[in-house]
C-alpha cells in the first residue's frame, strides 16, 4: 500500500534521514522504533509531505505521490496523526471530525447551507467518534478535552477521511496505563481495516500491534523484520532495545 524508496533529508550537515526504504502491505502494521532524535518524526513529516525530501520516492497504492503537497497526499488517502496533539481548539469535538469528513466528501466551496446541520457529515463524524470512544463528548469544545481524549480526537480526525494508509506518530504519548491499553485495543481492531505505520516508544504497543519492526538510529534503518527477529538482533539491542530490555 505504501512504499518508501531511498528517502533522504539533511538539515545542513546533519543527515536526519539516510536512504530509508520500507514497504507497508495491506492490513499490516509496521512499527518504527528508535532513540530520541533518530529521525522518526522527520520521516513521518517526509512521508506526509510536511517536509520536502532531498531524494527518494513515496508511493501510495502504486502511485508516486512524491511531488504532491500535504493536502493532495491526504486527498490521495494518506492520513496521519501528530505526536503533539494538533486539533481545532475552538471547534466542537463533532465539528473537528465533521470537517475532516467534509474534506473527503468534497463541496467545500459551498457558501450558504449551514455546515453544522449537514446530517451526512455529522453522522459520519459521530460514527467515527463512537468508534474511538468519544461518543459522549461530541458537543464539548475541543480545547476542553483531557489529554487522553485529545489523543483519541486526533485519531478520529485522521480516520474521518477514510485513509488508505495511516501514519501514527506516537499515539500513546503521555497516556496513562489504562488509557494506553484501551488505545492499543482500538488500534488492534483498526489494523484489520487500514494499514498503519506506527512510530511508538511504548514497547507493549509495538510488540502487540506490529507485524514488522524497523529500528531507526541516526536516520538509518539498522534492522528490519518480524518483531521477534529484531528483538534478538544484536545491533538493534545494542542501539536501542538493550537500554530497556
Amino acid at each position: 500500500m505504501l512504499e518508501i524508496r531511498h528517502l533522504s533529508k539533511s538539515f545542513g550537515a546533519l543527515r536526519v534521514s539516510d536512504d530509508i526504504s520500507l514497504a507497508l502491505g495491506p492490513n499490516e502494521c509496521h512499527a518504527i522504533i528508535g532513540p530520541n532524535g533518530a529521525g522518526k518524526t522527520t520521516l513521518i513529516h517526509q512521508i506526509s509531505g510536511v517536509l520536502r525530501s532531498d531524494a527518494g520516492e513515496v508511493r501510495l497504492g502504486g502511485r508516486d505521490v512524491t511531488g504532491l503537497t500535504v493536502w493532495q497526499r491526504v486527498q490521495a488517502g494518506l492520513g496521519r496523526t501528530f505526536q503533539i496533539t494538533s486539533i481545532l481548539p475552538s471547534f466542537s469535538v463533532l465539528e473537528n471530525v465533521a470537517i475532516a469528513a467534509q474534506a473527503k466528501a468534497g463541496g467545500s466551496m459551498r457558501f450558504f447551507a449551514p455546515a453544522a446541520r449537514d446530517a451526512a457529515l455529522n453522522d459520519a463524524a459521530a460514527a467515527v467518534l463512537t468508534r474511538v470512544g468519544l461518543a459522549d463528548r461530541m458537543e464539548a469544545r475541543a480545547a476542553d478535552l483531557s489529554h487522553g481524549e485529545l489523543r483519541l480526537l486526533e485519531l478520529a480526525i485522521a480516520l474521518a477521511a477514510r485513509p488508505k494508509v495511516l501514519l501514527l506518530d506516537e499515539p500513546m504519548a503521555g497516556l496513562g496505563r489504562t488509557e494506553s491499553a484501551a488505545l492499543i485495543d482500538l488500534l488492534a481492531e483498526l489494523r484489520a481495516e487500514v494499514p498503519m505505520l506506527l512510530v511508538e516508544h511504548d514497547m507493549d504497543a509495538v510488540f502487540r500491534l506490529a507485524d514488522r519492526l524497523s529500528v531507526l538510529v541516526d536516520g538509518r534503518i539498522i534492522a528490519s523484520g518480524p518483531p521477534a527477529e529484531v528483538r534478538d538482533d544484536p545491533g538493534a539491542r545494542a542501539a536501542y532495545l538493550g537500554a530497556e530490555a
Partner: protein, 313 residues
C-alpha cells in the same frame, strides 16, 4: 446565539423605522450620519470575514473601497448611469484586483501579510492620486449620479438611505451565512490551526484567497455607495488610515462575532460626531476611550451586549 440575532434584528428595525421619525428632529443631518455609519459598517463587516473568520489581518482593505468608488465614478463619467451595471463593473474590477494582489499577499502570513497588504493598498492609493484625468490628488466631483432603472430614487434622501440599508442587511446576513457554511468552516479551521487544516486535506491558501476576494468585492460595493452619497471621489477614500479605522471597528466591535463589525462601525461614526461637536480636542477623549474599551471589553462591544460562552465561536 439567539440573543445575537435579536440584537441584530433590533438594530435593523431601528434603522428601518428611523426615517419615519426623523422629520421630527431634523432629518437631513441625521440621515447623512446614519448613511455614513452604514457605509462604514458594510466595509467593516467584509473586513471581519478575513480578519475575524480568516485570521488574516489586512491593512489595505480601504484600497478596495477606493477601487469600487473609482470604478463606478469613471464609468459614470463615461456615461454609464444604471446602478446595477455600475455594481456589476465594480464587482468585476475589485474581484480582479483582489485576485491578483491576494494571490501574492497570501504567500505570506501574520505581520508580513499585514505589510504586503499595506504596500498594495498604498500602490492603489497612489494610482488614484496620479489619475490626472479624474482629479488626481483633489478628487473628482460628480455632475451626474447613478440611477436605478432610469429613476433618480437612489440619488439622495430616503431612497439612497434604504438602498444602503438593504445592502447593509444583505452584507450582514450574507457574511454570517458564509461563516457558517462549509466554506466558512474551512476558513475558520485554517485560522485555528493552518497545519491541521492542510493535513485534513484542504488547500488553505485557495480558501483564504476566495474569502479575500469576497471581502474585497463587498468593500468595493461600499465604495460605489460612498461615491453615490458624497457625489465625489478622492484618493482620501483609500488611505491606509481608513484601513486602520476599519480594523478598529472590527476589533472594537468583537472579532468574528455576528454584530461586532456593525456595532464597531456605528460606535466609531457616532462617537466621532458626538465628541467632535462637544469639544474641539475631541481626540483626547476618543483615544483613551478606545484604550479602555480594548482593555476592559476584550470580546468587543458585541460581547458587552450579549456575553458569549467563554471562548465560543
Amino acid at each position: 446565539m439567539a440573543r445575537d440575532r435579536m440584537i441584530g434584528a433590533a438594530i435593523f428595525a431601528t434603522l428601518l423605522a428611523l426615517p419615519l421619525l426623523l422629520p421630527l428632529v431634523g432629518a437631513d443631518y441625521l440621515m447623512g450620519l446614519l448613511i455614513k455609519a452604514m457605509l462604514l459598517a458594510i466595509a467593516a463587516i467584509s473586513l471581519d470575514l478575513i480578519i475575524g473568520q480568516g485570521g488574516m489581518v489586512s491593512l489595505g482593505h480601504a484600497a478596495f473601497i477606493g477601487v469600487g468608488a473609482y470604478t463606478a465614478a469613471i464609468a459614470l463619467e463615461s456615461g454609464i448611469e444604471e446602478i446595477l451595471i455600475l455594481l456589476a463593473l465594480t464587482l468585476a474590477v475589485t474581484a480582479l484586483v483582489a485576485l491578483i494582489t491576494g494571490a501574492l499577499a497570501l504567500r505570506t502570513s501574520g505581520v508580513y501579510f499585514l505589510m504586503i497588504t499595506l504596500a498594495f493598498g498604498q500602490m492603489i492609493y497612489f494610482t488614484f492620486t496620479s489619475l490626472a484625468a479624474y482629479g488626481g490628488d483633489d478628487g473628482l466631483t460628480l455632475w451626474s449620479l447613478a440611477t436605478l432603472f432610469g429613476s433618480d430614487v437612489v440619488q439622495n434622501g430616503e431612497g439612497l438611505y434604504f438602498f444602503v440599508l438593504a445592502t447593509l442587511l444583505a452584507t450582514w446576513a450574507g457574511v454570517h451565512r458564509i461563516g457558517l457554511s462549509r466554506f466558512g468552516r474551512v476558513l475558520r479551521a485554517a485560522r485555528d490551526n493552518p497545519q491541521r487544516a492542510e493535513v485534513m486535506g484542504y488547500p488553505i491558501t485557495r480558501y483564504r484567497l476566495v474569502a479575500y476576494v469576497i471581502a474585497a468585492c463587498i468593500a468595493g460595493v461600499s465604495g460605489l455607495l460612498m461615491m453615490q452619497y458624497a457625489e465625489f471621489v478622492s484618493p482620501a477614500i483609500a488611505t491606509w488610515q481608513r484601513s486602520g479605522d476599519l480594523i478598529v471597528a472590527v476589533v472594537l466591535g468583537g472579532l468574528g462575532t455576528r454584530n461586532g463589525a456593525l456595532l464597531g462601525a456605528f460606535f466609531i461614526v457616532l462617537m466621532e460626531e458626538i465628541l467632535s461637536s462637544l469639544l474641539h480636542e475631541w481626540r483626547l477623549i476618543y483615544g483613551p476611550l478606545l484604550v479602555i474599551l480594548v482593555l476592559y471589553a476584550k470580546g468587543g462591544l458585541a460581547d458587552l451586549m450579549a456575553p458569549r460562552a467563554k471562548g465560543a465561536g
